[in-house]
Symmetry: C2
Subunit: 222 residues, 2 copies
């Protein structure tokens, strides 16, 4: 495969392809054309072919794609054919929700440790993972070969914590704190800014109403 | 303001501008040039000017932008100068975490109801919001003028639930279920697919390692 730079827009679409292919695989479907995939995913067949061409095309378009092959290839590209070891920092409701997701575990993302600065939580177990004091993070990351730290702490704590994680050699930070983290390029960051997502929704409501003059709750006859 | 169609890419950047402007405002800064904003936000000044031009430009660039004015204008564009009434469907850890975020409340997103199909949770209160049976959703949405339903339920339940919400006149769905929802164009959907975000992170780790030959946990001398 060519080592050219793939745009983040294409990469953002890969997990969605992976999800649909996983569902096709579960339904026992062995082969699918870009047109059929286009119909169920509601993107153009041309977009699908363009996206896949970034990775060499994945085979004969005349006969359609082999679902299992495509699924496996995308899983390799996404790096989820390998295990990832995670820790979670901040064991509030959100931290506990994420640690409890069996879905992540099934994809090879394994929570190895949980950390909090509240002593009342020390020793508590979430799906077998013990909550420890944040002071132990550096040692834990180094001795347990941790790849990814999940930050579910307030934004004022997230910036210094990110620095500590960078210093002890973390590879990636999954950041739920509502702040942008400034890390060196060898540390990958993916932000989940929930407020931003909610504001985007609010924008789209407002925009729709301005355009169609709907106000209040009720169905519009558009 | 012109009613031209703004791209979702621009809209995705608005909440981030809003966040930075809010911080500048809190720090008492009254005026900022696109270059200064560019430095702190790490996007080009040209990008900022282009983005703002979609909304008429927000004023004199020679003297910089008025922070408070810009903050207020963006808040109006995002529709967060108005209140939004929310319900949450699915009161697991994630549902509870979202209901507990005081930050949303501060931005005018007010949780009015919480629903679950587990009778053991009925009557439980989360920040004063009572958990009710899902059977009551339609009536609640209609009588309480609910704009937004937050779906934190498993994906097989999310599709029929979205249909019920559409039928009772919801304006928007904030969807955390790992499935794409098929709704009419008068209902806005914003997806938070956490697994997709985690896979993107995994891609970026894998990509970096392929490029730089780093394996295992440890700092690289890039």
């Amino acid at each position: 495969m060519e080592e050219k730079e793939i745009s983040q827009a294409v990469i953002s679409r890969l997990p969605r392809y992976f999800r649909y292919l996983g569902e096709l695989k579960e339904r026992g479907i062995e082969r699918i054309s870009s047109q059929e995939l286009s119909d169920i995913m509601k993107v153009t067949a041309s977009q699908i072919r363009q996206d896949f061409n970034n990775f060499g095309g994945f085979g004969q378009q005349g006969y359609g794609y082999n679902v299992e092959y495509l699924y496996d290839e995308i899983s390799k590209i996404l790096g989820i054919d390998q295990m990832h070891q995670l820790i979670i920092i901040g064991v509030g409701n959100l931290g506990q929700a994420l640690t409890n997701y069996t879905n992540f575990n099934r994809r090879g993302f394994v929570f190895k440790g949980a950390f909090d600065c509240n002593p009342e939580l020390y020793g508590m177990k979430i799906r077998g993972v013990e909550v420890r004091p944040t002071e132990e993070i550096e040692n834990f990351v180094r001795t347990n070969n941790i790849d990814i730290a999940v930050l579910t702490i307030p934004k004022d704590q997230a910036v210094p914590m990110a620095q500590r994680l960078v210093d002890c050699g973390i590879k990636a930070i999954w950041n739920f704190a509502h702040v942008d983290l400034d890390v060196p390029e060898n540390v990958q960051v993916e932000n989940v800014h929930l407020s931003d997502s909610l504001m985007k929704l609010s924008y789209n409501i407002t925009r729709y109403e301005k355009k169609h003059g709907r106000t209040g709750n009720g169905k519009t006859g558009s």
